[in-house]
């Protein structure tokens, strides 16, 4: 037996083993740190996914945010309506999709100006959002109550009305419901506010201004708007039947509002 060789072999095994152990612990440490970081950033969603309610306001915000955002996006591409009824089917090449774009100002005649169909555009958008999210809101509040009940709380819920406000750079929905949670002492929550970032207030204001031009003069100077509002691109797509589809794009946020008009159409010949 070569004791010297054995010494070296044993030493190598021992050293290698120790290094391997250290490596394992290092990897384990990295994993723990990574998981901790993930939990820290995703905790609200994780809790929400697991049905753990932090506080009612945050829960409602998380629960409703996506629905409100989707509603705003959908109606923005359809002239402000969830279910357009008097519309032009327009294929938006940039988005690669066919949309039913509501006529906000319309006449079926030649030569005459269009007739305003949505003089209260922003207020109508608020109504559309409110109606479209109500079912989801009811579900969210029901789940909220169930969650607290399952944790032994006594829950009192008084539903109230819902208000939607288009504001500069955001949309705020206020649920004027009253929630009282009792477990020992009582806590009352009311006026649940959910806000999302959206430029629909600004874009619909521009749309209203364009409609004013359309109903009065039969056309709108889109280049003037773009010169004044540097963050906007406004396209006017004239169709073969005299319909015009206006597409307002905010370059900073990517928000789009599109709508249709038909007025002062000249027929072929006389």
């Amino acid at each position: 037996m070569n004791k010297k060789g054995d010494y070296f072999l044993d030493n190598a095994k021992s050293t290698g083993s120790k290094k391997g152990q250290v490596t394992v612990f290092i990897i384990l440490g990295i994993i723990i740190v990574a998981v901790s970081v993930l939990v820290y950033f995703l905790y609200p969603e994780i809790k929400s996914t697991l049905g753990i309610v932090t506080d009612p306001q945050s829960y409602i915000q998380t629960c409703m945010q996506k629905e409100i955002q989707q509603t705003v996006t959908n109606l923005s591409l359809q002239g402000g309506l969830i279910n357009p009824d008097n519309y032009f089917s327009y294929y938006n090449e940039k988005l690669g999709h066919l949309y039913d774009v509501e006529y906000l100002c319309y006449t079926n005649k030649y030569y005459l100006p269009c007739i305003m169909q949505q003089p209260l555009l922003q207020q109508n958008i608020e109504s559309q959002i409110k109606n479209n999210i109500q079912q989801t809101a009811n579900t969210c509040f029901t789940n909220l109550q169930s969650s607290y009940k399952s944790r032994g709380y006594s829950v009192s819920f008084i539903p109230g009305n819902t208000t939607v406000s288009l504001l500069p750079e955001k949309v705020t929905v206020t649920f004027n419901n009253q929630l009282t949670l009792t477990k020992g002492n009582s806590q009352r929550y009311e006026n649940f506010n959910v806000s999302i970032n959206s430029n629909i207030y600004e874009l619909s204001s521009i749309a209203t201004s364009i409609l004013n031009w359309e109903v009065t003069y039969g056309d709108a100077p889109v280049q003037v708007y773009m010169t004044y509002y540097h963050n906007l691109i406004i396209e006017k797509k004239e169709q073969s039947d005299g319909t015009k589809v206006y597409i307002i794009t905010d370059l900073n946020t990517g928000d789009i509002f599109q709508f249709a008009t038909r007025g002062f159409v000249m027929p072929p010949g006389y």
Partner: protein
């Protein structure tokens, strides 16, 4: 019996009368429209056939303008302050609408004035002013005596801003804002330092300079931000460590008003300077490696080139090929769709060009040829069936297109500005009353219409189809006689040939304005020779009909050109270069009347 027969006959007659009247009523009902407050296809206040009426809403056998529910007035939202012309039916009270029968200009709540809030001014209603004040959290003042937008905007002034310092529990902090906003802060005691930045060391706040930048919605430049999130001065990498640059607002206390520029190029794509200029083709945008050639030296924002410079864009490439440069931001130009591409129009739509026409003796140029349709030659310059123009605009780095209205009811006009850039626009083609003008002065009045005065053939004709001639002394068209054969036939025609619907009956009516009758008197003299064949205008330059009774092509081509100038009439090729199915002989009919003597 007799009485019975008489009675039966009377009943029969009465029945027939009733049937006839009933049919007439049905026919008229089906062909007329009613004013429907709401239609089945979802539109409000339209004159439609009864079959399209939503009978759940009011409707009546009258024009909408005469109804109470669809008469035009003003829909005002007195909370939001909006006022729009609209019918009563669409002014929903549940959405806050209040309807007035007067126009917006004559509705008291819609009277506009000047609203000043914060640094801004807006020409709007008093209610809208109050609403904006609430939304933006700024006190607003409304001045009704300012009655136009220009004067109102001139009253806007940037309020002095500065450092608003206060204790926030975790230390002495700061917000860069206006004096008014600083004073209005709730629940904190504030001190305002005009023209100071929050990073001014003498203020001893917890806000420190950084190398971070931001874009502001109210400006085009790139700005530094401090550690508290306040915007500081315009990004200039050379000043990043300068204490004074981080202490005071630019333009005060020794800080230059503007960062050093790059000889009026808007600091496009500059990595060290954020003094962008929209009008020179740059504006603040978040750096994007796929768009911007180089990253900024500091921060994540850069003066992006918003001119349309990418020749991978086919429209930019087309512009570059034509004008040997790429378009700049705000530039617009005209193009004409052709079969495989678009042809740019350096001067916009030039309209039809009269290549040649008979000389006009009235102008002092005497010629033996007074009225000779064969001399009419025009160039349609793209105003052909299907020909449609496109308006291109370079805006924010993108080329957008607007297609002109069909049937050339819109045309594209283009000009070159003094600094060498192009400006174009789509305008209405005012051709409709060209045909009715009976003198050249009215015809060529560009304030009213877009027409040309063409000599050699006339639209006005007598019942036999004989063209009238233009008498300058009477300034009108008169019948042609032997004594006024020196007078010229003429017509006021559209400068930009309109397009017609090929299947519409009205098209034939409009094209028939160019119809011309050519009377040929010929005799067979003994043998087979035909003599005569002159047109009724007394032209000696060849007949409309050759001696072998075939059509004289020179004459026919002239008439065809005249017809083509009316619009999409006669022979021609369309926008993709395909010829129509008509040949010259298809356009003319030889009618034989009488017999040989």
């Amino acid at each position: 019996m007799k009485n019975k027969n008489l009675f039966l006959v009377s009943i029969l007659i009465l029945t027939m009368v009733l049937i006839i009247l009933g049919n007439n009523f049905l026919v008229s009902s089906q062909s007329t429209t009613v004013c429907a407050e709401h239609t089945l296809y979802g539109a409000w206040c339209q004159d439609v056939p009864m079959s399209q009426v939503d009978t759940n809403y009011p409707y009546s056998n009258t024009a909408c303008a005469s109804t109470s529910y669809c008469a035009t007035g003003t829909c005002a939202n007195t909370v939001a302050g909006t006022c729009l012309q609209s019918p009563k039916a669409t002014c929903d009270p549940t959405n806050g609408g209040q309807w007035y029968s007067t126009s917006p200009a004559n509705t008291p709540v819609c009277q506009q004035g000047c609203c000043n809030f914060g640094e801004q001014a807006s020409f709007t209603t008093k209610a809208a002013c109050t609403e904006m004040s609430s939304l933006y959290g700024e006190n607003a003042t409304f001045n009704p005596s300012i009655n136009n937008e220009g004067s109102c905007l001139a009253t806007a002034f940037p309020q002095a801003k500065g450092a608003c310092v206060f204790d926030a529990g975790n230390g002495r902090t700061c917000q860069f804002t206006t004096r008014q906003a600083c004073n209005n802060m709730n629940n904190v005691s504030t001190t305002f330092y005009e023209n100071f930045l929050c990073t001014n060391p003498t203020l001893e706040t917890n806000c420190a300079p950084t190398q971070q930048t931001t874009c502001l919605s109210t400006a085009d430049q790139v700005f530094f931000i401090d550690s508290c999130g306040n915007p500081a001065n315009v990004y200039d990498a050379n000043e990043a460590s300068d204490t004074n640059y981080w202490s005071f607002v630019a333009g005060t206390n020794g800080v230059p008003a503007t960062a050093p520029n790059d000889n009026n190029k808007g600091n496009i794509e500059s990595t060290t300077n954020g003094d962008c200029s929209y009008y020179l083709g740059s504006t603040c945008r978040a750096y994007n490696s796929s768009i911007d050639p180089a990253a900024p030296a500091m921060g994540d924002n850069i003066c992006r080139n918003i001119n349309c410079f990418s020749t991978s864009d086919p429209f930019v490439n087309l512009f570059n090929q034509q004008y040997e440069r790429t378009p700049v931001n705000g530039e617009s130009w005209c193009g004409l769709e052709t079969q495989n591409s678009i042809t740019l129009e350096p001067n916009g739509n030039s309209g039809i060009t009269i290549v040649s026409q008979p000389n006009n003796p009235s102008s002092g140029i005497l010629s033996g040829i007074v009225n000779d349709p064969s001399s009419i030659s025009i160039n349609k310059n793209g105003n052909v069936p299907g020909g449609t123009e496109v308006l291109f605009t370079c805006q924010n780095g993108e080329v957008t297109t607007t297609v002109a209205a069909d049937y050339r009811n819109q045309i594209c006009l283009q000009n070159k500005t003094s600094n060498g850039y192009y400006a174009a626009g789509l305008v209405a083609n005012r051709w409709q009353d060209c045909y009715y003008q009976n003198d050249s002065k009215d015809c060529l009045d560009t304030t009213q219409r877009d027409c040309l005065w063409l000599t050699g053939s006339s639209i006005y004709k007598d019942s036999n189809g004989t063209p009238y001639v233009f008498d300058p002394s009477q300034n009108t068209f008169v019948p042609q006689t032997g004594s006024n054969s020196y007078l010229t036939q003429a017509a006021c025609i559209p400068k930009y040939s309109p397009g017609f619907n090929s299947s519409a009956p009205s098209t034939y009516t409009q094209c028939s304005l160019a119809d011309l009758a050519c009377y040929v008197n010929f005799t067979k003299n003994g043998g087979q020779q035909i003599v005569g064949g002159q047109s009724e205008a007394g032209s000696t330059d060849g007949p409309c009909l050759n001696s072998d009774e075939t059509l004289n092509n020179n004459w026919a081509n002239g008439i065809q050109n005249f017809g083509s100038a009316m619009g999409d009439c006669g022979m021609g090729t369309n926008w993709v270069g395909t010829s129509g199915s008509n040949s010259l002989k298809d356009l003319f009919t030889v009618i034989t009347n009488g017999s040989y003597s």
